[in-house]
């Protein structure tokens, strides 16, 4: 399964901010770690802000804070802000054929599993998976350089 770039950026941003509840990070801080342009990141942050998942902090050292509930917000909640998890093509002539219906049936099996997977993983659970990766020795290259 491939997520759109904006979706991936949003997940990374939420994971970064949720790891530092009560503290803020600038778009540049996040952009540096994931090698994402500030422009693209700013657009994504606007969507997260409108969804109530982040709040912006003004002034010097301003940036964003996580304002959702990491134990209740799921990956699906974030993904659905940016893309639809369905392979059905609305109003498609081909999909209305028996062949099309058979294909839609199979593709919806996959969609259902994807939705159940993303919906079962909260941001808090994701943070635990991140910790496990770190314990297994996976390190951020940029973070290492700047320390």
């Amino acid at each position: 399964m491939k997520l759109q770039i904006s979706t991936r950026i949003a997940i990374f941003a939420v994971l970064e901010l949720a790891a530092r509840e009560g503290h803020q990070l600038s778009v540049a801080d996040i952009g540096e770690k994931y090698d994402i342009s500030s422009h693209h990141l700013a657009k994504v942050m606007n969507v997260l802000h409108r969804a109530g998942l982040v709040r912006s902090v003004r002034g010097a050292g301003g940036g964003y804070q996580f304002s959702g509930n990491a134990r209740r917000t799921t990956l699906l909640d974030v993904v659905q802000l940016f893309e639809e998890l369905t392979s059905a093509e609305p109003d498609s002539v081909a999909d209305a054929t028996p062949e099309g219906q058979a294909l839609v049936q199979i593709l919806s099996e996959i969609d259902d599993i994807a939705r159940a997977t993303l919906g079962s993983i909260t941001i808090a659970t994701m943070r635990k998976l991140v910790d496990r990766q770190e314990a297994a020795g996976i390190r951020t290259k940029v973070a290492k350089k700047s320390r």
Partner: protein
């Protein structure tokens, strides 16, 4: 201190206290009525015969590979109430799979949820499985049952290598 941080902290402390106060032990005959009540309360279906049978099979026999554990309030007199239960067994599945710990029931009293009891039950049965010599634990959850799915995920469970298939028999 930021209120979000202090709230999260208080919540964690309260949760740790609650988890400490919980005692997880093997089921006893006197617990069965409490288990029946809890299950009837949660599922809205009373299944006394079913639970008596489960108790006979999982609470009395082959206890080295069958685990029916209950959680009770550690501060209270033993047997005064069941706050939750978990049931599992060591199963050797077909298709050449090695034996694993299989969890097939888990329930926590609704008023006692979000206090770490589910986690305590999960940790206790994991220990039992490990002592019994298996190094893998599995379960099956309906795809749309988000609460148990989120719970098992938060305990570190991931999708396994099997896909469940079925067919309508006409």
């Amino acid at each position: 201190m930021d209120s979000a941080v202090s709230n999260a902290k208080t919540e964690r402390v309260a949760k740790a206290d609650a988890a400490d106060a919980v005692r997880v032990r093997r089921v006893r005959a006197a617990d069965v009525p409490h288990v029946i009540d809890l299950d009837a309360h949660v599922t809205k279906i009373a299944k006394a015969a079913y639970w008596n049978d489960i108790f006979r099979r999982y609470g009395r026999q082959r206890l080295n590979e069958r685990f029916f554990l209950v959680a009770e309030d550690g501060a209270q007199r033993s047997g005064s109430g069941v706050l939750g239960f978990i049931i599992g067994e060591i199963r050797a599945w077909e298709f050449g799979s090695t034996p694993c710990g299989w969890v097939f029931a888990l329930s926590v009293e609704p008023r006692a949820r979000l206090a770490g009891i589910g986690s305590a039950l999960f940790a206790a049965i994991s220990e039992e499985f490990k002592k019994a010599g298996v190094n893998k634990m599995r379960t099956m959850v309906a795809r749309d049952s988000m609460l148990p799915l989120q719970f098992f995920r938060s305990e570190g469970m991931m999708a396994g290598p099997y896909l469940q298939l079925e067919k309508d028999l006409e």
